[in-house]
């Protein structure tokens, strides 16, 4: 009666029982088991007093490695601490908020400038002023600090670093197309992209479909004011002619540069990274699939790490964001390290934050490891700052930006940013007209303040 199959099944069942039994043990004690596992492989000393969980979005292996190194050093210097690094999945902020409801939110976590108001509204952040001195806070750029304050001016987080946009161009492809200089105006950017596509057979420019924050420099450089939405009435921003014209221009980069060119069986001069099978702009540029991208400082360690043979200065270079008829505009992106309002160990959490983004921490993580730009003013002059980053900083003085907008659009920033980008994406893909997209964005602002 007992066949071979059945005895195999019986054995499998027994194995399953053993595994699940040990599994239950594993779950019951997961955190300390993880710690012991890491201890066994020599990663960290045994946890003692302060157990902290630290979360970020961990974009790419490079960033995860940088943070793991930093945390490893922190735990070595502070044997009483055990910090678990938990990079989190897509929809980072949304997931983080839902973790608060389930009492499983980490103790220290990234909050993007756009999402700070939402986190404040839910009472998720610890007021950091209570944990530190005014002298410490004064070290940071004021324009970055502003974002992390509530209506009363109370500070809830310190910027861990910051980044700006700039143009990256491939010198080889430029030479092949007979170009010597990077484009300095938006019109030239378009002209060069087309020329590169026609002569080299590679797209000149890569942009994201969507990406409201990438479009903003165009609008601002043509004279539009910063879009800050404090009430439904501020939706009027989308009725401005300069906004309408620039959005149309930006969307047409893609509809004309990609869709129409492909329909005419020509090399597209604008593509999105996904169109050419790349994960993001860094990938598209580093693999030399496109000649130009406009990206931020976070792209620099990625290029150095993933494309070591593609050398800064000889193979590629950077240039300021092109200017418009009104002037030159840029965006500043920043992220704070927030502390969980309900953390068990506020001062221990602060100690970690201080380590990661204080003078010493930023010197290592941001300056030496080349992560992004330091948010502490005095470090901007550090001789260890990577030359690529240095160059982007220098553009602040020559040629200089007439406006640098911190990526923040008022109390509803988080939800509006996503909606605006989707509207632009749909317009680029030809699903809606530019006018429809503008109406959608207008309505999104009205809706956000209606509730």
């Amino acid at each position: 009666m007992v066949t071979k199959m059945e005895s195999i099944l019986a054995i499998l069942l027994i194995i399953a029982i053993i595994i699940s039994g040990s599994g239950l043990y594993y779950i019951a004690d997961l955190d300390s088991r993880m710690a012991r596992l890491e201890e066994a492989i020599g990663a960290v000393p045994a946890p003692t007093e302060f157990y902290l969980r630290f979360s970020g979005w961990g974009a790419g292996a490079t960033e995860i490695e940088l943070y793991e190194t930093m945390l490893h050093n922190f735990m070595e210097e502070n044997p009483k601490y055990y910090v678990k690094y938990e990079p989190m999945p897509t929809m980072y902020h949304e997931n983080l908020l839902s973790m608060f409801g389930a009492y499983v939110a980490p103790d220290v976590f990234y909050v993007d400038s756009m999402w700070v108001p939402t986190f404040l509204e839910k009472g998720a952040l610890y007021p950091v002023e209570e944990l530190t001195t005014p002298e410490f806070i004064d070290m940071y750029y004021d324009f970055l600090l502003e974002i992390f304050k509530d209506a009363e001016g109370k500070l809830y987080g310190l910027p861990k670093d910051w980044s700006m946009l700039f143009l990256l161009y491939n010198k080889k492809l430029f030479a092949d197309a007979g170009l010597t200089e990077p484009p300095d105006t938006w019109a030239k950017l378009l002209e060069y992209s087309e020329k590169i596509a026609d002569t080299t057979g590679k797209p000149g420019l890569s942009i994201y479909t969507g990406g409201f924050e990438r479009y903003l420099p165009v609008a601002l450089s043509e004279g539009a004011p910063k879009p800050i939405f404090n009430s439904a009435a501020d939706a009027a921003w989308f009725e401005r002619t300069d906004v309408k014209d620039t959005l149309k221009w930006y969307v047409e980069l893609y509809t004309k540069g990609k869709t129409e060119r492909e329909a005419a069986r020509l090399t597209p001069y604008v593509v999105s990274p996904a169109d050419i099978g790349k994960g993001w702009l860094g990938d598209a540029f580093g693999s030399e699939s496109v000649a130009m991208v406009i990206s931020g400082n976070w792209i620099i360690p990625f290029l150095a790490d993933e494309f070591p043979d593609f050398e800064f200065g000889t193979d590629w270079d950077i240039a300021p964001v092109p200017k418009g008829s009104w002037g030159r505009a840029n965006m500043a992106f920043t992220v704070c390290l927030g502390i969980n309002r309900y953390t068990k160990y506020p001062s221990a959490a602060w100690h970690l934050v201080e380590y990661l983004m204080g003078v010493e921490g930023q010197k290592k993580l941001v300056v030496e490891m080349g992560h992004t730009l330091p948010s502490i003013e005095e470090l901007a002059t550090s001789p260890d700052l990577w030359p690529q980053h240095r160059k982007t900083l220098d553009y602040l003085t020559t040629p200089g930006y007439d406006v640098v907008m911190a990526w923040f659009m008022g109390p509803k920033s988080g939800e509006l940013g996503g909606k605006f980008s989707t509207a632009i994406e749909l317009a680029m893909l030809g699903e809606v007209t530019v006018d429809d997209a503008l109406t959608e964005m207008y309505n999104a602002v009205v809706d956000a303040f209606a509730e």
């Binding site: 929809m91 409801g101 169109d275 749909l426 893909l429 030809g430 959608e440 309505n443 999104a444 809706d447």
Partner: protein, 312 residues
């Protein structure tokens, strides 16, 4: 159902049956309570939540039927052609209905055709069975990750397609007109083989006498297929259409792992998931999920009447 309940109650007075009943309850206790708790009880809890405004964090606020009103407003707005940003739930329903309308008939017909071909004396039939079944035992998210790659503009699928239809090489996952179709192809690929095995089993169980009688009457092969085989398969077809429809209406994994641009692949469950876990509007999400439940229930009920197959 009722008479047996009554007679069972009556027989409780007999000692032996009482003992049997106790043993019966003991045997089902653990399993049944888990199922009832995580279905009926939590459903009632969801129903309770659907009358509140709650974000997991701040205290719950009773809002009456406001959540349901919002659901119907959104659907009405969608029918009237409102902005896609305000009517994502409606878009989800629309996408999913379209998806179901394509996937369910295609996979059923394909499965029947394959089963008919396989229902002859074929050597190596187990090889075919295994290869058809393989897609349905593989995790849909993992399948999606592989298909995202195969569906690239310069990918394998376009390579074969453009060799058959010159010049046809859509950028599947980046094109609003093709993304949902790509997901449909994956879904059909994933389930039709599984269904084919069921149909093959049903075909092999059909009474041979009917066919012999028909042969004597001089019925041709196609006549036999349409007038005997298909009617006899009707319960099986009904079953697979209903189960397939329930599954398709709840599609989530593939749409989540192979997202198309904009709202082109948004599904109802995806929208409910986002409402609950991204926007933290628990009450509204619960109301939406009951609406979906009602839709599924209505469609299933209508189909059951249409196909009139037996329940147990």
């Amino acid at each position: 159902m009722t008479p047996s309940l009554f007679s069972n109650l009556k027989s409780l007075f007999e000692k032996k049956s009482r003992r049997e009943a106790i043993e019966g309850y003991l045997l089902i206790a653990a399993g049944t309570s888990v199922i009832l708790f995580f279905s009926i009880f939590v459903m009632l809890y969801a129903f309770y939540l659907s009358f509140f405004s709650w974000d997991f964090l701040t205290p719950m606020k009773f809002v009456g039927v406001e959540n349901y009103v919002k659901v119907f407003e959104e659907i009405w707005d969608g029918i009237c052609g409102g902005s896609p940003f305000r009517t994502q739930f409606f878009i989800g329903i629309k996408n999913v209905l379209f998806y179901t309308a394509i996937v369910v008939p295609t996979q059923t017909i394909l499965a029947i055709i394959l089963a008919v071909f396989a229902n002859q004396k074929i050597k190596g039939i187990s090889f075919y069975k295994v290869s058809y079944f393989l897609p349905s035992v593989t995790c849909s998210v993992i399948i999606a990750l592989i298909f995202v790659w195969l569906f690239q503009k310069e990918g394998l699928i376009n390579y074969f397609l453009s060799s058959m239809i010159p010049g046809f090489a859509p950028n599947w996952m980046r094109d609003v007109h093709y993304a949902l179709w790509a997901i449909m192809l994956v879904a059909i690929w994933g389930t039709s083989g599984n269904l084919m095995i069921s149909f093959l089993a049903a075909l092999q169980a059909l009474p041979q006498e009917v066919y012999e009688a028909a042969s004597i009457d001089g019925a041709g092969r196609f006549k036999k297929f349409f007038y005997i085989t298909l009617p006899l398969l009707k319960p099986m077809i009904g079953y697979s259409v209903v189960v397939g429809t329930i599954g398709c209406l709840q599609m989530f994994d593939l749409a989540y792992a192979m997202p198309g641009p904009g709202f082109s692949t948004t599904t109802v469950v995806q929208n409910i998931y986002n409402t609950c876990f991204a926007e933290s509007k628990v009450g509204l999400a619960c109301a939406k999920s009951f609406f979906l439940f009602a839709v599924i229930f209505a469609i299933t009920y209508a189909m059951r009447r249409k196909f009139r197959y037996e329940t147990t």
